[in-house]
Symmetry: C2
Subunit: 407 residues, 2 copies
C-alpha cells in the first residue's frame, strides 16, 4: 500500500507532446501495456540525466549517443525487460528498436531514444516490439499521460504523475511529469524512469542545467534500499508552445517561478517513488541541519536512511534512537561534535547535546513512531548547511517482493 | 539457526589467564550470566582495537584512556547494556565499575578495562554490578572460557570460541579466543567483542601490529548489515608463559607459524559471527580477484555484500545475477572494464567478459543458490589484487529479530 498516495488527478496535457502505449507482451507476469512512445514536436528541447552505474544498460548507451547527434523526436520505452547485461547484442537490439521507429515515422535513427526497465540479463524481445509499433504509433494522443504512467510501471503499485502551472511573462506554462520506480532506488538515479515536459520556451543548453539542479534536489535525494540500477533516466522536455519569452538563464523573467514549478513537479514525483517504495509502511524524511558542509549533511542523512537497523526500528514503530545515534556516528562526517548533536523525531527532542534529553520519555518517542509520516531531524550545531533525504522503512514485504521478483 | 556451526569444543586454557562470570541481572529478557571478568597475569601484554564510530560508547572511551596509562590486569565485560549515548554519567559509571574491581582486587583503576554490549541509551545498573563483584571474582578459573563465551552473548544464538596450538622454538604455544556478535556487523568493528589470548611471549608493541594485521583480514572483512556499533572491541593478550624466545618482529623465529595460528583463530572467530548472523540462512564468501587496487576490490566486495537486492536474492536462492552485476557497476571502482568482468557462483561461470556466459543455464545457477555455503567470485582481469569479504543473506528473520529487539 503506497503511503498517502492516490491515483494522480488533473494531469494536464502539454502542447507539443503526444504519447501512446500498447502491449508487446514483454512483461511476463500478465498481459498489460508495456511498450510506450512519446512524440516530441519539432524544435522541442531535450535534457537528460542517466544512471552512474558503470554497468550501464544498452538503451542508456544508445540514448546518450543519440542525444549527442540529434535532437530527439521519439522516446521508446519498454517495461519488463531492462536490456542490461546483454553485451553487444543488447546494444544492437536497442539500435534496431530505434531504427524500426525511424522507418515507420520517417525520422532519423538518432532522433529516437530507447529506454528499458525490468529484469536484467535477458535479451529484448525485438520481434514483439516491431510487430506492435504501427498500432503503438496510431495510439499517439496528447491526453495519454496517465495511460503511459501506468504502462512504464514494474514493481510500482500505483502510477505516478503530477502537473503544475506557472505564469511566465503573462503566459501560462504547464509542467507535467510521470515516473516509475519503487525499488533499487538510491541517489544518482535508480531503477527509475522519469519524463517531465513543459510547454515553456527554454534555451536548450540551460534546460540541462535546470534538469541537473532539479534532479539533485529530488530524485537524487531519495533512497529505498541503497541499490543503484543500470537503467535510470530522467528526461526534461520543453516544447516552447506556451510562447513565453525564452528562458535563457537564471536572470530571465519569471525564472524563479518557473524553476519553482519544475522543482515542485520533480520533488512530488521523487517522493511518490518513496511513498510507493517496495514494502514501505512509512514515509520518512531525514533532515540534517546546521552541518559544516553539504557533504557532511548528506553522509549522515544517507547513513541513517540506509541503515537496516534504523529501517527495521521504523518498521516496528520502535523509538530505538540508539540506532539513529550509531548511524550518525558511523557516517564519517568530517566535522562532528558528538556533544553538540540534537536529534528530533518530528517535534520530540530525543537527544540533546549528545545525550538523552532530560525531558524525553519513551512514550513520546513511541507516539511519533506510530505515525506513517515521520521526520528525523539531526541538528549538528556545526555550521549553516542543511540537506534532506526521503526514505522508507525496511519490512517483511520488502523481503517478500524482492525474494519473489522473478518467480 | 547458525550455518555450519556447532558448539565449540577442545577450547584450551591459556596459562596466565583466568575467567569468571555471573548474573548481575543486567540482561532484561531472562536471568542468565551477563557479567564477566578476565584476569591477566602480571606482565601480560595487551593490544586492542576499538570501534571507529564517532559516537563511541563510554566504556570504550575509558578503556582507551586506561590502556594509555597502565597495562591491564582485569577486563570487566557486561552484556545487555551498551552504556552508549549515556553522556557524562555513562563515562562516570564505567569509571566507577573499574574502581569497584580495583578496590576488591588491590589493583589500580587504570589496570581495569570496561566493556559493554547491548541496548544503547540506558544507564548501566551499577549497583547490580557492585553487588555481585565479590562472587564474580571468586568464580575466576582458567577453565571458564566456554562459560564466558556464553555470558558475553546478546542476540547470538550460539557461543563462539576457538583454540589453536603452534610450536615456537620447540615450545608449544596456545592461542584461544572467544567473541560475540551477530548483527550491526560491518568493517571496522561492529557490535562485537573479541578476546584472544596466547601464552606465547610477544613484544608488547609488536603485539599491537599483529592484532591490527589479523583484524584487517578477519573481523574487518565481515558484514551482516553494514551497521557499525558504538562498542566494538577486540583484545589480544600475550602472557608469555609458554617460555618461547620472545617474538619481537616479523624476523623472529617461527613468527610466520605463530601469525598463521593467530590469523586462523581470528578468521575462525570472525566467520562464526557471520555464520550466526541475524536471520542468516546462507554463509556467503565474496571474492574479488585480479583488481587494479586493494581498494577497488574492497569497494566491489562490500557493494555486493551490502546490497539488499543481492541479499534477498540469496535468501530466495534465486540466481538473479543481474543484481550482482548492478552492484559491481555501482561500486565506483576506479579501474573497471565492464567488458572484462567474469562472475562465478561457486564454480559456475555466469558472466564472461561482461555478458551472460554462452554455456550458462539458469539450472546451473539455481543449483548453486540452493546451497547454504556460496562463493561469489568477481574476476576483474585488471590487475593482481584480491580481497575477500564474508556475509549473509537478508531474511524475514533478520527483520523479525531487529523489529522485536527491545520488545
Amino acid at each position: 500500500m503506497p503511503i498517502g498516495l492516490n491515483l494522480p488527478s488533473n494531469i494536464l496535457p502539454i502542447e507539443g507532446i503526444e504519447l501512446g502505449c500498447i502491449s508487446a507482451e514483454i512483461y511476463r507476469k500478465k498481459k498489460r501495456n508495456d511498450l510506450s512512445i512519446i512524440k516530441l514536436a519539432e524544435g522541442t528541447g531535450v535534457a537528460a540525466v542517466f544512471t552512474t552505474n558503470q554497468f550501464v544498460a544498452a538503451p542508456v548507451e544508445v540514448a546518450k549517443q543519440h542525444l549527442k547527434e540529434k535532437s530527439a523526436r521519439y522516446l521508446l520505452i519498454n517495461a519488463g525487460n531492462a536490456n542490461a547485461g546483454t553485451g553487444a547484442r543488447g546494444f544492437k537490439d536497442a539500435k534496431i528498436s530505434c531504427e524500426s521507429v525511424a522507418k515507420l515515422t520517417g525520422c532519423e535513427i538518432e532522433e529516437v531514444l530507447p529506454f528499458s526497465t525490468g529484469v536484467i540479463g535477458e535479451y529484448l524481445p525485438l520481434v514483439n516490439i516491431q510487430n506492435v509499433l504501427p498500432d503503438l504509433l496510431s495510439d499517439l494522443s496528447k491526453d495519454n499521460w496517465m495511460k503511459v504512467a501506468e504502462a512504464i510501471m514494474t514493481t510500482d503499485t500505483i502510477s505516478k504523475a503530477y502537473s503544475k502551472q506557472v505564469e511566465i511573462n503573462g503566459k501560462i506554462a504547464t509542467v507535467t511529469g510521470i515516473c516509475k520506480g519503487s525499488g533499487m532506488i538510491r541517489p544518482n538515479m535508480a531503477t527509475m524512469l522519469a519524463y517531465v515536459a513543459t510547454d515553456a520556451a527554454v534555451d536548450g543548453i540551460f534546460l540541462q542545467d535546470i534538469l541537473q539542479q532539479a534532479v539533485n534536489k529530488s530524485f537524487n535525494r531519495i533512497t529505498v534500499d541503497g541499490d543503484m540500477s543500470t537503467n535510470d533516466a530522467c528526461i526534461l522536455m520543453a516544447t516552447g508552445k506556451a510562447n513565453n519569452s525564452l528562458i535563457k538563464n537564471c536572470e530571465s523573467d519569471d525564472y524563479d517561478a518557473f524553476y519553482a514549478a519544475i522543482l515542485d513537479v520533480f520533488s512530488h514525483l521523487a517522493q511518490t517513488i518513496i511513498r510507493d517504495g517496495e514494502g514501505a509502511s512509512k514515509f520518512v524524511t531525514v533532515k540534517v541541519e546546521n552541518g559544516y558542509s553539504q557533504q557532511d549533511c548528506l553522509k549522515i542523512a544517507y547513513q541513517i536512511a540506509h541503515s537496516p537497523l534504523v529501517k527495521t526500528a521504523l518498521n516496528a514503530s520502535d523509538a530505538n534512537w540508539g540506532r539513529i545515534l550509531a548511524a550518525v556516528g558511523s557516517a564519517k562526517a568530517e566535522y562532528l561534535d558528538i556533544n553538540k548533536v540534537n536529534i528530533f523525531l518530528n517535534d520530540v527532542c530525543i537527544i540533546s547535546n549528545g545525550e538523552r534529553a532530560a525531558n524525553y520519555s519513551e512514550e513520546q518517542g513511541q507516539a511519533v513512531m506510530q505515525l506513517t509520516e515521520i521526520t528525523i531531524t539531526i541538528d549538528l550545531q556545526k555550521g549553516n548547511e542543511s540537506e534532506t533525504v526521503w526514505t522508507t522503512d525496511l519490512s517483511h514485504d520488502y523481503i517478500s517482493i524482492n525474494a519473489d521478483y522473478r518467480t
